[in-house]
């Protein structure tokens, strides 16, 4: 298991762009939106929580199709499925690797982008907390979508169509935490619901993903 995590991280680092691309995309979203919306500080402050969450979500989506597709193409997935590791564990570890490579950098970069979007001071802490709690769910849900489409020739677009609706609850609660936090309101309820969704997804979805991969390898 640990060996698989080390291998996936090493692959992401060596392939180049593993860390960088998602982050660069996130940065671009934060730059493009003010250019489109206009520079008024009040408007930006109002939409900043939503834009930051949508940007993180899309950046996460970008690298999803590589979670299993590369291993499928070179035969590693067959070999992993015949190894002593349970496939559920393989899925969980690969989701964790995806989060470390994509989700975690987004969490750390988000406050910097918050400055660009004039996020109110009170919101920075909640931005970090909500992304840290929410992005693991994005990786796990995303790997479920990747598992469903792993055998398909051009699964990338289909995967986005399948995964984005599944992201809706996480997005709503995550952005709500930041929005309320920025306005100085209580964030307990959405934060608890966000954490609940993440916990549920991390606990249960690897089983569904492993089932989908078994079907696709058949």
């Amino acid at each position: 298991m640990i060996a698989l995590l080390i291998r996936d991280l090493r692959l992401a680092i060596r392939a180049g762009g593993g860390f960088g691309l998602g982050l660069a995309f996130f940065l671009l979203v934060a730059v493009i939106v003010p250019l489109g919306v206009g520079p008024e500080q009040a408007v930006l402050a109002k939409i900043a929580p939503g834009i930051l969450w949508v940007g993180a979500l899309l950046a996460c989506l970008l690298s999803l199709d590589r979670i299993f597709a590369l291993d499928f193409e070179d035969g590693s997935l067959d070999l992993l499925a015949t190894s002593p590791m349970p496939l559920e564990g393989v899925v969980a570890v690969k989701s964790l690797a995806h989060w470390l490579v994509t989700g975690l950098p987004l969490v750390l970069a988000a406050p910097v982008l918050g400055v660009l979007l004039n996020l109110p001071v009170a919101g920075y802490g909640w931005l970090l907390v909500s992304l840290a709690l929410g992005t693991p769910a994005l990786s796990v849900i995303g790997s479920f979508g990747a598992a469903l489409t792993v055998g398909l020739k051009r699964g990338g677009l289909l995967m986005s169509l399948l995964v984005l609706p599944l992201y809706i609850p996480t997005l709503i609660f995550g952005a709500e935490v930041v929005k309320r936090g920025a306005q100085g309101l209580a964030v307990g309820t959405p934060l608890a619901l966000l954490a609940g969704i993440t916990a549920g997804a991390v606990a249960l979805l690897p089983f569904a993903s492993a089932a989908a991969i078994r079907v696709n390898l058949r």
């Binding site: 070179d74 070999l79 190894s83």
Partner: protein
């Protein structure tokens, strides 16, 4: 550890391709599968490896006894030869890749990235994986593709040593590896159409 296959029927994409396949593979023995392209060698091997369910029949082998080597090697281009092999060794819970590297004559290449290997060298790396699985029954699908004559002989010797240590090998190949092996021709087991007495597949069961 013995592999016993009884009256096995396998299907590709829901369509039966082989039926009534039975054989026993004893420790120390090798069995070579022959048959024309498309007869279902790969499907049979994937079924034995547990990657797809059998249509009917039984496959009996010990728990975690089978090591499967497919057409694709599962070699990661950005990792070195030693890293590639080391990962599989840890995944299968064995230690040390030195013996496997030496056996497949990869020692000089250990620190080279797999991207810079030739096709034959990659293949040797893929086959070295079998050695680090620590499993007794090797199931191999065309293992000698892109190997030169010297490498085929080297690999034949590796399989020979594995058999001598009580392992077993099931090989789909058309090349003589230079080891004593029984040959099983799959042509007689080709699935017949249901109208001619063949069994019906899961695909069209009850669609008659």
């Amino acid at each position: 550890m013995e592999l016993r296959v009884t009256d096995l029927a396998v299907a590709r994409a829901g369509v039966p391709v082989l039926e009534g396949v039975s054989f026993r593979l004893l420790p120390g023995r090798a069995l070579v599968l022959r048959g024309p392209n498309g007869i279902g060698k790969t499907t049979l091997l994937r079924t034995l490896a547990g990657l797809q369910p059998a249509l009917s029949g039984r496959v009996e082998a010990g728990e975690d006894a089978i090591a499967y080597a497919a057409h694709a090697d599962g070699v990661k281009a950005t990792l070195t030869v030693a890293e590639n092999l080391g990962f599989w060794a840890r995944a299968f819970g064995t230690r040390g890749v030195g013996a496997a590297l030496a056996a497949m004559n990869l020692e000089a290449l250990a620190d080279r990235r797999a991207a810079n290997l030739s096709a034959g060298q990659r293949r040797r790396l893929g086959l070295a994986r079998l050695l680090v699985t620590g499993r007794p029954i090797w199931v191999m699908d065309e293992p000698t593709i892109s190997l030169d004559a010297a490498s085929v002989a080297l690999f034949g010797a590796v399989v020979g040593r594995h058999l001598a240590q009580g392992g077993a090998a099931l090989i789909a190949t058309h090349i003589d590896l230079g080891i004593a092996a029984e040959v099983l021709d799959l042509a007689p087991f080709k699935a017949r159409a249901p109208g001619l007495g063949g069994r019906i597949g899961a695909f069209d069961e009850a669609f008659g």
